[in-house]
Symmetry: D2
Subunit: 431 residues, 4 copies
């Protein structure tokens, strides 16, 4: 079998202009049903409710991660850098393309409620009887396992892992550029071409020539701004809270043997914890939204209300608080109950900075898989040093965080309640 396509294939991409496919394996992977399914999973979850342009899918992001990886490797090969193991090229490209394969609909909310992990699903899809698995096995019998190993960060050759999982990997570089493009918030633009030119494969790591330090500073600043302005946007958080509560309520009802008007197989399996790969692959965002469209008419008023809120963008409002005060929260909870609200569903405190907040931390030693290789600079004497040792600006943003928290709640019933609420609460909620 000729591993190369005679005439390279091209996808028009608004972020990278073109995406080039040269290997038959990559082409075949893109055409599998499991990869095509990513067209029905949005890259940014519910962010489109805040930034209406953010309707792009994980399909386009996955192609982008592949393309950046291809460009990095192509630069390494063109310059014949000894630190790059040429035989790992196809593996790295496949892992880049497939790293998000297991994402479910609105993954973050789904995972919190059902305790599933998209990385695990990715590996299941790679290793079980799927079209993707069949394409990979045509390369070698142990190839699906190798790809899974790279994604799980257990593959013995660390440089392959660091391409798609480090503080400045192809995944992150693509999503910052792509999310900036589709939201229209141009804070996320950085000079990709410059960064690609200064990457070097050294001692099992991808490092950066010191002359490129300014470009890296700019990348880190862009990332910082994107986190606070897109990823942690309070309106997006509100929609994620609603979504999580839909899932929670459905689970709760299911466990109480509530009789759903609409309950197809895959969702039932999700609720009772017996879901298979085949069913999981049905569970795209179209499917889940169709469920919400049905549940909007369910008898359970809470589930119906939450679905209505999500579909029609009737999100919870929020107030900002600087100190969590248990007495106050208790009081709010009591008064909410007194006007017919359910505090378990109708009030939620959100600490954005407790999220896996992705400020650059050189010494992140959390243990566990969240830890990412720091960014290393390579000087002219081939010495490596961690970037915050050299850059004032990186040092200055390292560890920054914003301490406030938000209390989310439905505004309409509070307005209706009027003087049933205490003056203190009415002031707090600006009624």
């Amino acid at each position: 079998m000729n591993p190369y396509i005679t005439e390279e294939k091209v996808f028009k991409d608004p972020v990278h202009k073109y995406i080039y496919v040269q290997d038959q394996t990559i082409w075949d992977l893109i055409n599998t049903k499991e990869f095509q399914r990513l067209r029905r999973i949005r890259q940014l979850g519910t962010s489109y409710l805040t930034f209406h342009g953010a309707e792009h899918s994980r399909f386009s992001h996955s192609l982008g991660v592949y393309e950046i990886t291809r460009k990095i490797i192509s630069q390494f090969e063109r310059n014949d850098y000894p630190g790059w193991p040429r035989e790992e090229k196809l593996l790295a490209l496949c892992a880049a393309l497939l790293h998000d394969l297991g994402h479910g609909p609105f993954s973050h909310s789904l995972e919190e409620v059902f305790d599933t992990h998209h990385e695990e699903w990715t590996c299941n899809i790679l290793l079980e009887d799927t079209e993707v698995n069949r394409v990979l096995r045509r390369v070698a019998d142990d190839f699906p396992g190798k790809v899974a190993g790279v994604i799980q960060k257990t593959y013995p050759n660390p440089i392959v892992i660091s391409l798609i999982s480090s503080q400045m990997d192809a995944d992150r570089m693509d999503y910052l550029l792509r999310d900036a493009y589709f939201t229209g918030v141009h804070y996320g633009n950085f000079d990709l071409e410059r960064i690609l030119r200064v990457l070097r494969p050294v001692q099992g790591k991808i490092v950066v020539k010191e002359s490129g330090m300014h470009a890296v500073e700019h990348y880190l600043m862009s990332r910082y701004q994107m986190y606070w302005q897109i990823y942690f946007h309070p309106v997006t958080r509100s929609s994620e809270i609603i979504l999580r509560q839909i899932f929670r309520r459905a689970k709760e009802l299911f466990e109480q043997d509530y009789k759903f008007e609409w309950m197809p197989g895959p969702i039932k399996q999700l609720l009772d914890g017996t879901i298979t790969v085949k069913s999981y692959l049905k569970l795209d965002e179209a499917y889940v939204q169709a469920a919400f469209l049905h549940w909007e008419d369910e008898e359970d008023a809470l589930l119906a209300e939450l679905c209505n809120r999500f579909l029609n963008r009737r999100l919870y409002k929020y107030i900002t608080m600087t100190n969590p005060d248990d007495t106050l929260l208790e009081e709010i909870s009591l008064q909410f109950t007194s006007i017919g609200l359910n505090p378990e569903y109708h009030m939620e405190i959100d600490f954005p900075f407790d999220q896996p907040y992705d400020v650059y931390r050189p010494d992140s030693k959390k243990g566990g898989k969240e830890e990412k290789t720091p960014i290393l600079l390579l000087d002219e004497q081939d010495r490596l040093s961690e970037i915050s040792a050299k850059s004032d600006i990186v040092r200055s943003i390292t560890g920054l965080h914003q301490g406030e928290y938000h209390l989310y709640y439905p505004e309409e019933p509070l307005i209706e309640a009027g003087t049933k609420l205490s003056p203190a609460l009415r002031e707090l909620f600006k009624l």
Copy 2:
């Protein structure tokens, strides 16, 4: 009621940078469930299967049409042009925002099979008991009817109609820019700011100052290129064909009393022709795709195959022919049947230039509502003339068309059939 919002609202938009909302009515319309539903209808139908960036919705396009209309009117007001009837501003803005409200999922294919028309649905939604209707009635009792009149082109003041329906209207200007942005095909860029500056309201029409002729030429060239490269792209046509056949097959089966595994109310009503506004509003693309995800497992092999093709992007291939030859088509049909294909579903001839091809035609006198006001230039002596009388380049592209047609078919069964097909056919299909 104060018709203005105290602090104007802003949407971040990648095409226009920001979209500004200053009227309470516009704000309320955007927040209706009928308008929010447009987030679940893609602007370009199945084009995302060809250009993966084209995942943007009619929601963002509708905001864009509103914004361009707002900018045109604001320029007219700032300059106090006597030709602009100031009292029509809110009407024009509402019509711009709502003109696509009645679009169903993958409208063009749906409409061909079920003989529905999105303009009619738009008017139904405006006039029946909906949230949109309630917001509009707050302006005046006859206001919903006026908005419907503008969209149906029956409103007595033609200048209001021409803002959203003419050869260079806000609708078209937004979609060319937006589709160019999201596909990444930059042929569609033209100088919007320049065009906005040279529009003038004269004698019930929006005309163009002659000094802006070059900008208009560029706009028409952009449009020409976008049609041939995006809107008529043969791969997109292929996916539309598949989609239409899914709808046709479902209808056929339904009429044969086939027992569907999955057949929810709104779709059943669509099939038996009894669909109401309430049900129609459920019918977004998420809902229809969820149907396809179920139908992929239907017993009817043809329906299952077509859904599988659509969801997993296994599209029909095509060959290009310059002359439709009945004998040849007959022969193909016969041989297709002989290898177990169904010519009614497995071969389809497509003449892109028979489409409502949107080349600029100054004298289009088709009668009927497709006809659009031509582009008029206003010279320094306030005389009007149709643009192709002055522009060599517009004249040169007027009436251009490409005469070839495409025959679409599934490739896999032909490959499998091998020598069961005649040598002539095998050559024709390059097997």
Copy 3:
């Protein structure tokens, strides 16, 4: 000598993002004084008086032509196309970089008056005792001659010539993009990356894969628009006319033994036709403008006036005429003389379409060196055909021209003359 630079050098360029230098010879050429001089010659002559952003120099354009050439060749080498003679790479790069080396200040106007030709000066600089010549001779003794041969189109290997001189060469592709960028008139943008990907070296020519036809159409449309909107802009023509008249007047005065207050060596040699390469190299736009700053105070009123007009942008106005009518022109000339104007300097007829108008003409058989290779498409059967045979749109713009002409004149004296001019003339000049 190692012909490659150990670490490639990079120039930041707003059009191509980066310009990459990999050969020591290219690096050394850029650092010669003759090449650095191009920083003091504007790319677009007097266009900056119409489009204030157009202040970019031939230095940046020359780097751009080099970079596009480098990219084309790099694509040919990466794909190992047999039609590309690898041994010609350095020659092609040098010719691309140096093709504009002989441009003088405001070349077009200068050349018309003094009958010099920048191509000849380029060859003189390449072949005489200059820094450029020394760098080229380090490659081989006959290398300067080869570079000159490519630029003069006498080099025996035609594919090398066609890289920098054909209907879609690196020169033209760079200037359209660059002039669009610096003027801010984005009509000139086309999809360079796409075009670079579809170029193929075949039979001594650079041809285009047929699948790239639309990108070529777009390129030709961009070119068409740039010509009419930038290059032939009537205000720019006016400034060129003034400039030419300054040169004419200086020559005339010199021939009449007028005693100039300021007349340095190089300009004197230019006027008496004895100019050497060494002096020519002094003659940049700074030098010529300094001359005008002195001549503004010359005793000769006409020269002083023309310099004042040029420096302070007091350009001639123009009226548009559709038919040159000798009787009318005679009459204008008489009346101009009667109010103290000099028709030889104060009226000038301009036919922009008599310029070397660069519409694409497939069959241009003018003989002479202006003729450029047409654009050829390569189909899947490796057959070549001229693009206008396949593209409706190219055919439609081929041969388009605009027939009107302009009469340029100084407006102030006409206003002052008042009724001394006949009513007919006053109407003609809208006084």
Copy 4:
């Protein structure tokens, strides 16, 4: 006199797309010879020797500052903010347009050597008998004085001053965007449209609505990066050093009664300190470069060498040092002298961070006119607070600086000297 132009005039601008002129006074000012002269003064001095795109002039920057000011005021007027004094509009626009009128050729270097100040020249040009003065006096007799007052920051209405002179004024906003555009270094892009929308005139200051804080953070980060990557670029510093030495050497020679081959009036007056406004206006960059082209052939070897270095970009190299050590500098000086160099001209220490380094400093209390109004945020309760009190990120970059210094020197004589230099020096200079 009608103060408004009947049909507004438009300049195409690559940064702001269009620049709109609506007042006859502005139009007349642009057409004065003093304003047109700014076309011959580069915005970024010698930066074009580092970033070849940076060839744009103060003419285009001045139009840009005018346009941003116009947009800010137009927003204030549209919203009828009581804090904006409508009667000051024309004054503010004129001051914005003319604030750079007095810049000489390569101002910074020129001013250091000749102790002139462009602000003073601006005022001289405004107040003496010039075309600009005549246009301004047509508004009112005291109008030129008012414009000068705004530029000198003595005008009694501080809000007018703060438009063109504060930590986030129209001047700075234009140059960051413009310099980013022309160099191609996109670090300088920030969201101008967003910032314009959140500015408010309050208590004699232009302040920022708190909701716009992120946009301001981004602006300050852009500024930070532009300073370190463009404005303080070591290669640009090298060219400025050469330039300063040319001026110093010319002055020194002049004071020694050296007989120059070429010494025209305006330069002579500059050297002997008798320069008038009329002569100063001749002194553009074309004029000065023409002087260098002559001086390249002067008998004084040092002056000739320096001019050659500047014109042909043979700049000094530099080494980086972290601690200025007098003994070492003494030693370098001695050895330089011993090989025929002149330490006064051939070595120069540069501390970029001693420059008027423009990091944002909220509490800059330097006294003197360099001090700029800090950026104030306006919260929903109409309270003002300085931005670094609210923004972690602004606080983190406030006061950052980089402590190293550079030693500039000519490399060629050191290479030639070979072992005549001590081993320590040879190591220091990496010979």
